[in-house]
Structure formats: structure tokens, C-alpha cells
Subunit: 418 residues, 2 copies
């Protein structure tokens, strides 16, 4: 029997009527001949309520107890989903993490999968059960304690089950109907992609397109799990949503598939740093220890440096705006400790990052030139550039962000079906 | 190390501040040198919310899924209680039913304990953990599914742990400060009892004093678990509350310990039933099948019967008012099926039951006479009488109920310390 994994996020199971709506989608797949593993999140708001209680009780909480409390939200949805399916005459039962068992590491709050044995579920499917409903986001540690997987955990649970059970596909039902060429709130020309490669999705996910968590996409790429993102609020069929798949499955890759952005970026420049081997480690080591997520890094000779008698340079990097204070403290502490020397720290908190992503870039020259020309035509000044194999990112003044996204969407003709 | 079981009901853990209050009581016992097993209910209102969702989803629900959903309320409290204790520097951890494991039968929604192995908890106490927090009301079936114990399940969990771990005492914290000679809302002369025997408590529990569930008292009596009922909202010490214990521990038994009542009783009389062997079974069999909780039963020769040519009798019984319609249907169905014959069914829905309870009755004559005299002095007519070794119950007009309770409380001098 072919098997499908279907995952429903918090807004898709927010109340009993939405659970019924989701269950109807499961029933439709059973009617098409699939055995189905359903992964559910907590009803939206429930996890926040539980997390709030834990934080109020114990600011520096025991992560094992945090997990025991917070995992209960998914357990409730799993039972209610199984009952709803039974009411629709679909043979179903719920499974909590320890019942699978979903074996994870002991890293409470951020556990990783170790094994998902097939025995228990396979036996149930063999008995004629059509649907196994799994509480997402959780597992059980080697010590027999409940673990949770951290942010995006339910997506990750879905992908892990799809891999373990050789599912034909893993459908992620959410509140948007797929992956778009860019954010439709920024340009109405944004178009839903029929397919996108894992690599592209990874760049888009980490660049701020919040539909899928990076970790679940990484796992899907590693195990070649075909992911489909679609809306639980629409009528859906085989052609709905966006399929995230291996690039082999995408006949003709576009040069650029999407334009991503990240609004709250800050640009920090250490002016007149001594230019010596190991200086980058001396700067970014303390930043990493302080929990600053440094993104783009550029090193260049400043004009001020030219008049110096010893080799000096400027070091520029970006990080989220809300981490600037932390970055400043870490750098000043390193200076006071004599680990680094610099004349000044210049901070620009009014920047945003805009990126174009596409696996076609690998084989197409001229993408960067086209991007920079499009921005120049709109009078947008580029402050920092960073590139990878399949993406080009620029840091610009925040006030030009929407304009830049629209200009790039037009320049790469993303409104036209590919 | 001496061990104590402490159980906190839903109102005692209704929010984080009450959980802190309960945890402070646990910490005090740890300071006195006890290892403690804490049993917690769900935060008040939570179980009803979960039950409501299940009922709305599936009126004829799969009891296994019901249990999986409803048990989550206790899991949340257990984790929060463990965290609260840790914040107070008391080494504690939570245990869900399957982790104990608390082994029960597979009777979902009304499971019975089979075994509570000591190994896991004993190992933790040996490591220096002072408190094990147990999610009440739940266990795990031989099939590995979550079970719940039905009404009063958390009290029963507490008593079962006290028995399994040879606890010195099982303290049931609730919203009243003990067991009273009668309901203080009916007479301000009601007095808290320092001690009461298991047998008396059982009669009081089943007669409508709602502090402890019958089942937990039965279990306590069987395993000689000393139960103490006390308020989680008061400052408490060793002398607080009421100790429910073996009668050997009560030096001088009072003749009567308490006056109980049950307000919504109905009296039903089958007029002119044929008087033959097996007639009682023919009447009460169908009632039991219909789920009618028949309480008192009296059979007597009516005046109408005297003129009959075959042996006939009147059969009177009582049941809760809200079961009258069901009783009527069951009896009429039995008559139509030819199983019983009767001339009429007389129903009096305006009655209440008042009972006096005391183990001293066993050795004291004249209790019934004293009771009937007290009622007669107030002009209260007795409609039905039923007695057991340690209790006398009467059915009276409902409007006299408070008066009767007050008169009996006075007649047996229950306001005086025993």
C-alpha cells in the first residue's frame, strides 16, 4: 500500500472545526488508496500558553520538565484527530512520542532523532488501520524522558517519518498555499512555484521565507523526501501547493527562482583593525560565544587605513538588529581584554538584506550583473555583497527594501510561469 | 527515610500561585525529614475543557483516545509542580503514568490498578531526590495505551502509591479543612472531626459527603493506608484536618460520628405487585440494566392488598430524582414484556435522605429510637427506613431535610468534642 505523510500545523488544527477540515483531507487521501501517517502540532496558542507557564514558574527551567509540560499540547491534538477520523469511519489511532517510540537524543528542548522503529506502526497498518496520528515535536530519550525537538519540530517529525516509512510524499499543510517567488505582500506579481529544489528552499528558508523550517528541509534533502507545501484552508488536489524536491525532478531550472528578504538587519564595521593572521577568529570567536548570528562578512582596506604605519583593515559584518547590543558588548570586552584592537565600531541599524536564489545560477553567468544593474536603475546603493553557489545577497538601506524586491522580481521575470 | 504521599486536587493547583502554595507544603514536609510522593490533578477547569472537546468531536468516543487526550491535564500540572519545587531548591522530577509505570487494566476511562512497581522511584530516592511528582488519574494498559481511572482517580492514585510505598500517611489536600460532623452550610454547630474510621468515612462518602471518593476510601481501608484530609488554603501542621484511619486508632468511638444527607432522592412505589419468589429480581434486574441506582428498598403489605384474592404486596424503593424517568421506562417495559405485574407506580419526587453514621452503634442500643424520637419531636414524618451495622437512613419530605439534620446533630450532641 502506498504511504503518505500529512502534517498539519497549529493554525490548521486551531479548533475542532479546523481539525474536522484537516481530517477530511486525510480521508480523501485514504479514499485514493493511501495509508497515511498524520503528524499534528498543538492547537495554535496552546504551546505558547504552556511555555508561558513554564517560564513564569522557573526562568531557568529544567529542560526535562519543560519538555514534559510542553509536549502535552500535541498529545491533545493527536487524540482529537484520531477521534475525528473515527467519526468519519476511517480506522485511526493516536501515538504519542514514547509509544512509537520516537527515539531521540537526550538534548531536551532541541533533541535530534536517533531512530523511528517501524514495527509498531507497520503492525497496525497490517491489521487494516488506515491512519496513524502522531503527536509531532516530541520523542523519548534513552533515559525514558519526554523530549521535544525545538522550533519547527513538527515539520521535522513529518520528514523523519516520511524517511523512515519510505513515504511517497510528505505533505505539509499550513496557512499559505505554497512557496512564492517572493512575498506576495510586497508585490502582487509574486507567483506560486509549482516545484522548487531542496537547495533553493534551504536558501529561501534561512533567508526569511518562514514557511518551512531549515532543519526539516535539510532532513528532507538528505533522505530525498519529496515535500509538498499546501494550504489546509483551500480545496486541494494532486496539483496544489509547491513540491520541494530533488533538482533532477525539475525539468528546466530557472536561473532565479525567488527573491527573499530579511528586514531587520544591522551592519557593523570595526574601523581600523590590525590586519594580521588570526584577526578574524579573534573577532568572530567572541561574537559566536555571545550568541550573535553573524551573517555576511566583508573585509576591505579603508581610506583611513592608508595613512597608518602598520597593516590595518576595516571589518564589516551583519547581524539581526536585536543582537547589536550583544555584539557591541562582546567586541568591547575583547578589546578591553587586549584580544583585538580597533579605532571605532560603526553601527548602521537601518539596513535590510535582499537575496536572489536559483540553482540555475550555477550554469548561468551574468546573474550578479543583472541584479546590480536592476538595483542601480532604481538608485539603490549596495552596502555589502555576499554570494554562494545559488544565491546573491545584498545589504541595502531598509527604506529601499520593498522597491528592491519589486525591481528584482521584475528583472528576473519571476511573474512569468517558468 | 519515612515517606509521605501528598495529593493536591484541581482547585489546589488551579494556577501557578496555587501550585507554589502547594509546593511550599511539600517543601515543609521535606524539611521535616520525609521523602515525598506528590500526586497532582489537572488545573481546575482543564479536564472539563478536554472532556468537552472529546464529547463534541465524538459523542460515542473511542475510550482509548479519550484517555490519551484527557490525561494530558495532569501531565502539565506534574511538570509545573516539579519545576516549582526545583525553584525552591527541592530536588524533584515528574512522572507520567507510563513512566512509573503505573500498570492498570485495559478498562479505559475506568481502569483499575494492577501494579505500581517501586524500582524506578526507589532508585531516584536513593540518588537523593526528595520528591517524585506523579500525574494522578492515569496509568498504562498491558497494551501500552494510556488509561484513566474515572471519577476520583487522583485520590485513588494517591492511596495506591501510599500502599505500594508503605507511606506513613497519605495527605489529601483539598478545598475543605477536614471531615465535619455534618455539612456546615446546614448547621453552624457542625464540628471538624479529628479522626474518623474507614468504615464511617465510606458510609459518609457514599451518602453524599463529597470530600473523598468512595473508591479511594475502600482502597485505603483494604491496605490500611492512613488518610488525612486537609485544606491547601490554610496554614497546616501535624494536627490539621481529619485523619481517616483504622478504628483501632480511635480510642473512644462515639456512638454517632456524623449526619449525612442526600437532597435529590425520589421514592417510587409499585402498588399491588404479585408476591412470589423471584419478584424482587424481576423488578430490580431491569432497573439495574437501565442504570438506575436503587438505594433503599422496602417491601410491605398495603391496605389495598388486603382485599386481593392472590398474594400481593407493595414494593417501595428510592433512587436519585434524575433517574426516575429511566426507572419508569424500565418498569413499564418489564410489565409489557409480562415479566412483572403491578397496578400502579406511585412516584414521590420530593424526598431527601438523612442518615446518622457511627461505628459506636454496633455496641450501643437505642440509637434508632433516639433518632426517630428526635425527628418526631420536630414533626418530621419518616417514609422509609434502612439500616446497616453502622448507619441508619431515613427518607423524609425534602422540605424538612435541613431541620432533620439540625435536630439529629443536636440529639446526638455532635457539637461537643468527642
Amino acid at each position: 500500500m502506498p504511504l503518505l505523510v500529512m502534517k498539519f500545523g497549529g493554525t490548521s488544527v486551531a479548533d475542532l472545526s479546523r481539525i474536522r477540515n484537516a481530517a477530511a483531507k486525510v480521508r480523501a487521501e485514504v479514499a485514493r488508496g493511501y495509508d497515511v501517517i498524520v503528524i499534528v502540532s498543538a492547537m495554535s496558542g496552546k504551546t505558547n500558553e504552556l511555555v508561558g507557564w513554564v517560564n513564569e514558574t522557573s526562568p531557568l527551567y529544567d529542560a526535562r520538565e519543560y519538555d514534559a509540560v510542553v509536549s502535552s499540547g500535541e498529545n491533545v491534538t493527536a487524540g482529537l484527530m484520531a477521534l475525528t477520523l473515527q467519526e468519519m469511519d476511517v480506522p485511526a489511532r493516536s501515538w504519542q512520542g514514547w509509544q512509537g517510540p520516537i527515539q531521540t537524543t537526550s538534548a531536551h528542548g532541541a533533541a535530534r532523532f536517533m531512530d523511528i522503529p517501524r514495527t509498531n506502526l507497520d503492525a497496525k497498518f497490517a491489521e487494516g488501520f488506515k491512519v496513524a496520528v502522531i503527536a509531532g515535536f516530541q520523542g523519548v530519550s534513552p533515559e525514558g524522558r519526554i523530549t521535544t525537538l525545538g522550533r519547527g519540530g513538527s515539520d521535522t517529525t513529518a520528514v523523519a517519518f516520511a524517511a523512515a516509512f519510505d513515504a511517497e510524499r510528505c505533505d505539509i499543510y499550513t496557512d499559505v498555499d505554497g512557496i512564492y517567488t517572493t512575498d506576495p505582500r510586497i508585490t502582487s506579481k509574486a507567483r506560486r512555484l509549482g516545484k522548487i529544489s531542496f537547495e533553493e528552499m534551504l536558501e529561501l528558508a534561512s533567508l526569511g521565507a518562514k514557511v518551512l523550517q531549515t532543519r526539516s528541509v535539510e532532513l528532507a534533502m538528505r533522505y530525498k523526501v519529496r515535500l509538498r507545501v499546501l494550504s489546509s484552508f483551500d480545496e486541494t488536489d494532486e496539483t496544489s501547493g509547491t513540491l520541494v524536491c530533488d533538482e533532477d525532478e525539475i525539468m528546466e531550472s530557472r536561473v532565479v527562482s525567488g527573491v527573499a528578504y530579511s528586514r531587520e538587519e544591522a551592519k557593523l564595521t570595526l574601523v581600523t583593525v590590525e590586519d594580521r593572521p588570526g584577526i578574524a577568529a579573534a573577532i568572530f570567536g567572541p561574537l559566536a560565544e555571545a550568541g550573535v548570528n553573524v551573517d555576511m562578512i566583508v573585509q576591505n582596506i579603508s581610506e583611513a587605513a592608508l595613512g597608518h604605519d602598520r597593516p590595518v583593515t576595516d571589518m564589516t559584518f551583519s547581524c539581526p538588529v536585536d543582537q547589536v547590543a550583544r555584539a557591541r558588548r562582546a567586541l568591547e570586552a575583547a578589546r578591553e581584554a587586549g584580544q583585538i584592537r580597533y579605532e571605532a565600531l560603526a553601527v548602521d541599524e537601518d539596513t535590510a538584506k535582499v537575496s536572489v536564489v536559483g540553482i540555475g545560477m550555477r550554469s548561468h553567468a551574468g546573474v550578479a550583473a543583472r541584479m546590480f544593474t536592476a538595483l542601480a536603475d532604481e538608485g539603490v546603493n549596495i552596502k555589502v555583497i555576499a554570494t554562494s553557489e545559488i544565491k546573491i545577497s545584498v545589504l541595502i538601506d531598509r527604506k529601499y527594501m520593498e522597491l528592491a524586491v519589486q525591481a528584482l522580481h521584475d528583472a528576473f521575470e519571476l511573474d512569468k510561469a517558468g
